[in-house]
Amino acid sequence: MAQNQRPKSLLDSLGEEIIRILTPVSICMLLVVLLVSILNSSSSLYVTSSIATIAYSETGSDSSWDKFIGALLNSLVFVAVVTVATFILVLFFYLKCSKFLKIYMGFSSFVVLGFMGGEIALFLIEEFSVPVDCITFLVLLFNFAVIGVLAVFMSKMPIIVTQGYLVLIGMLVAYWFTLLPEWTTWVLLVAMALYDLAAVLLPVGPLRLLVELAMSRDEDIPALVYEARPVTHHDSASRPVQTRIWRERQNARLDSEDSSSLNSDLNSTVSIVQSSHNGARIARVEEGQVSQRDAELSAPLIDHRMDAQDGMSTESLMLEGMGLGSSGAIKLGLGDFIFYSVLVGRAAMYDFMTVYACYLAIVAGLGITLMLLALYQKALPALPVSIALGVLFYFLTRFLLEVFIVQCSLNLLMF
């Protein structure tokens, strides 16, 4: 019985691919919005000192111009630190100190998951007065942190577990970023978007250097990257499915798969102005199978990841950017998750109307970036378009749309 099978084009599976990368981004944003709306119900009077507020601590009584200048200084400092950190990462990668980077990364992400996760859990416990005792709490937290470290870059775990932990790490770091003062957050987002653009596309940018080093050595870039499952084509069932070991590249190299990522360790209690520990957590979740899309996507596309410095006394370098894995699955760096969620979380601090507007803007930006990725077939920065649209829509909604909607509602006209 002959069946005519149309060869599957990129467009047929693109919808599924987009969904598979949009779902975790949306989940991360939703979780951050939930956390922000639960925990920040009291106005955030705390000014968390961190590396991102080292230049200027925003107080409520400064004029707008002072706040803006202060935020600009903060962001410049932050971007400078991130740049230095990325160059250090490139240096380490160049000198092949993968073992050291990997151990450091493991330790840092354990600290992040354990301490940051523990802090947020404690906030939630205090908020809801959950009668849990410290023994149970410690056991659960310890388990959570250890499994997280293993899942993210040390061992093979179920794919869903690894993806879940990456989303959780993004959520934890994004929540901490939302604790920064308001002007600083917005200017920081714009600054990071510009930095991402420069670092990925300029030939002297650190991320581009990192990518080219990795390509020339055919190693994995040390970074925390979320990789979606590849879309299986059911008409390719007659082809033999190549077994892929979790985290193994197609050329069967196991060494640098989970290699180094610098990770900043999270020092949650004291010493705000820590020396920059930059860490790029790298988890390369590479899964894939041989499919006919390999013919289309033969060149291994590399992800650009950006190192983002954590404002709160922990600097974690996470690389962000988008690319296509060698199996054709879409990869998105964890820094992208984080900054999208920071934008939406900060919008949630104002009102839910801005949350919806910013969410749609970010998704639209992500879709545009994916289209560009399919068009240019090289690693692209994922931040600029989405952040630009998100910031634009936030301010438009806040200053123009809200007035309109509120007046319409009050006069029982619409909504």
């Binding site: 802090e119 009668p131 849990v132 410290c134 250890v146 093979k156 775990m157 179920p158 004291v270």
Partner: protein
């Protein structure tokens, strides 16, 4: 030997469950009779059988270091082993003992936690206030830094 054994059991397993989710065993192609059965829940994206054995053993041993979640991961990850019980004879004891270990641990922990939560002060007296987490956090100043 093991490949043919897994294939035979794959054939037996394929018939009552035609074409399940590709998350589990990869039997999307029912034309070929030699579709392999994968030991992990990820199917063809997961581990091969030899590696699965090494991982299952390692997870099982490390679970004793007060890490029962590793046993849960073991159980969850290698669930096809329990489903097609004849095809992976070496993996099965580890997965089964991981499942038993996790359930024992969860029973113990949940009974303690529930006793603590429900019993409250009239069961424990003053030590309840010393043990409950939000007081411990306040005492140690764990959440006051931000």
């Amino acid at each position: 030997m093991e490949a043919s054994q897994s294939q035979a059991s794959a054939n037996a397993a394929l018939n009552p469950h035609p074409n399940p989710n590709s998350n589990y065993t990869n039997n999307s192609n029912s034309i070929l009779s030699s579709t392999p059965v994968w030991p992990t829940i990820d199917g063809p994206l997961g581990l091969s059988e030899e590696e699965s054995l090494a991982y299952a053993r390692r997870f099982y041993k490390f679970g004793y270091a007060l890490l029962p979640f590793l046993w849960a991961i073991n159980y969850f990850y290698f669930w096809p082993v329990l489903r097609h019980s004849r095809s992976f004879p070496r993996l099965r004891p580890y997965v089964v003992s991981s499942a038993i270990g996790f359930s024992v641990f969860s029973v113990i922990l949940s009974s303690w936690a529930l006793t603590f939560a429900i019993g409250g002060e009239h069961l424990f007296g003053s030590t309840w206030d010393q043990l409950v987490m939000y007081n411990v956090a306040d005492r140690l100043g764990l959440t006051g830094w931000s």
